[in-house]
Amino acid sequence: MRRRERRPPVVVVFLAALAVAFFLLPLVGLLQRAPWSELIDDLTDPVVRDALRLSLVCSIAATALAFVLGLPLAWVLARTEFPGRHLVRALVLLPMVLPPVVGGVALLLAFGRRGLVGQYLDDWFGIRLPFTTWGAILAEAFVAMPFFVIVVEAGLRSLDRRYEEAAATLGARRFTTFRRVVLPLIAPSLVAGAALTWARALGEFGATILFAGNLQGETQTMPLAIFVELQTNLGGAIALSLVLLAVSIVVLVSLRDRWFPA
């Protein structure tokens, strides 16, 4: 047993309390101004309903995209050696530190109608991403996928390779081994990575409004609706914010065992 620490220094406790207040006060501010009596009306408003539906669709689709593309990428990063691997890894991480607005501009210049790739998508296939729900999904995947890749890569790295070797000696093919042995073993990483990715995608604002625009039912996700509503309808904006706050709390609580071992 460790001996009990001495009384912590007053200054440290004071600063820590200040930090807690800093996190707590914005929440209190939101809750105390919440139009509780009109909340139902606010939340059944068509703008809010559309934004909520669209946010769910886009964030889930972005997470699915992260799964489909991010899992192979995580595997390549964790299991293979190739020149420039560190560079690729840094590139994958970049959207995590890049301001989302910059991401939005970059996406526009790459996938926009006059963009690097976008002009061919438009000319050859008639595919247009800006101002479409697909654009919103792409913007969210761009900023959120790194979370999935990083978490899953770490999961793969910490895996004991002997399980796979055992499966291989028993005659399992590579894909069978991956599906029956590796995937179940890294399931916790997949879940945590997906949850983080989903939460980040749900909150995406900057890249979405720049790349996908802002249209009710098409590209106006919750954060965009909050931003626009705030200009004329503080109550509506607060109601929407409360929904996102509730979602965040649910994510946090459901993942608490992974992140906050008691």
Binding site: G213, V228, L230, T232, L234
Partner: protein, 251 residues
């Protein structure tokens, strides 16, 4: 917590009492102007002239949709002056007691259709905006330019389905200048300020809307002298000449 608040309040009082004494004669110090996005270029130019006249003043701007700025000011944003692209949003701050009445009109503006350089889609009127396959972006309904565009379209009896409703006039125009959208409805001054990045298609007077721009001093301003000087300058011959140069009409 309480003691810290008291200390902060004391500090605020101290600053408030010290500053006016030195600022009494000549405007000086930092001046924060909240202005409609459509005023970006003209106010930037105006700040240069203003600072020539009052070298001790440091003018800073926050340009955005007037509706957004009004919300920010009503929530206590540290602005000194508020210049709105419509009467309603300035009135909103006056009603909330954050801006001192009366609002002072300083300019008028008109709408125009902004199209890609050279008008490749050959748009001639508001009615052309409902052509199928045409990507039209408008300002959001909550924003003055969106409200004006809706009025103008209603006058012309045209219903368009926009691809996006952008957060302010500049964002709306940029979607056209970057080539993502074929057309948008913004202010005449926005097209002019874009300096050839987009072309403008005139909207006839009969279906156009005149936007009236009022300005006011924020009640909680820490630099009331500077704020008043700015309002006076905007209304002066010099300030009006700059606004004219950027395509604004007299108030």
């Amino acid at each position: 917590m309480k003691r810290a608040l008291v200390a902060l309040a004391a500090l605020a009082v101290l600053i408030a009492t010290v500053q006016p004494a030195s600022a009494q004669q000549k405007p000086s110090g930092e001046l924060t102007v909240f202005a409609a996005a459509s005023l970006t270029e003209s106010f930037d130019a105006m700040a240069k002239q203003f600072q020539k006249k009052y070298p001790d003043v440091d003018v800073k701007f926050s340009y955005d949709a007037s509706s957004n700025l009004a919300t920010q000011i009503n929530q206590g944003a540290p602005a000194d002056v508020f210049a709105s692209a419509d009467v309603d949003n300035l009135q909103k701050t006056i009603d909330a007691g954050t801006v001192t009445p009366p609002p002072v009109a300083f300019a008028k503006n008109r709408l125009e259709i902004a199209v890609e350089k050279g008008n490749p889609k050959k748009i001639k009127s508001l009615a052309d905006l409902k052509k199928s396959g045409l990507l039209v972006v408008l300002c959001a309904d909550q924003v003055p330019c969106g409200k004006y565009a809706a009025e103008s379209l209603a006058k012309a009896g045209v219903t368009v389905s926009p691809a996006s409703k952008e957060e302010n006039a500049k964002a709306t125009l940029s979607k056209v200048s970057i080539g993502e959208a074929d057309a948008s409805i913004v202010y005449v001054t926005d097209v002019k300020a874009a300096k050839g990045a987009t072309s403008g298609v005139k909207i006839p007077d009969k279906v156009n809307v005149i936007a009236s721009y009022p300005i006011g001093v924020v009640k909680a301003s820490q630099n009331a002298t500077g704020a008043k000087a700015w309002v006076k300058f905007v209304r002066s011959k010099e300030g009006q000449a700059i606004l004219r140069k950027f395509g604004f009409l007299p108030p």
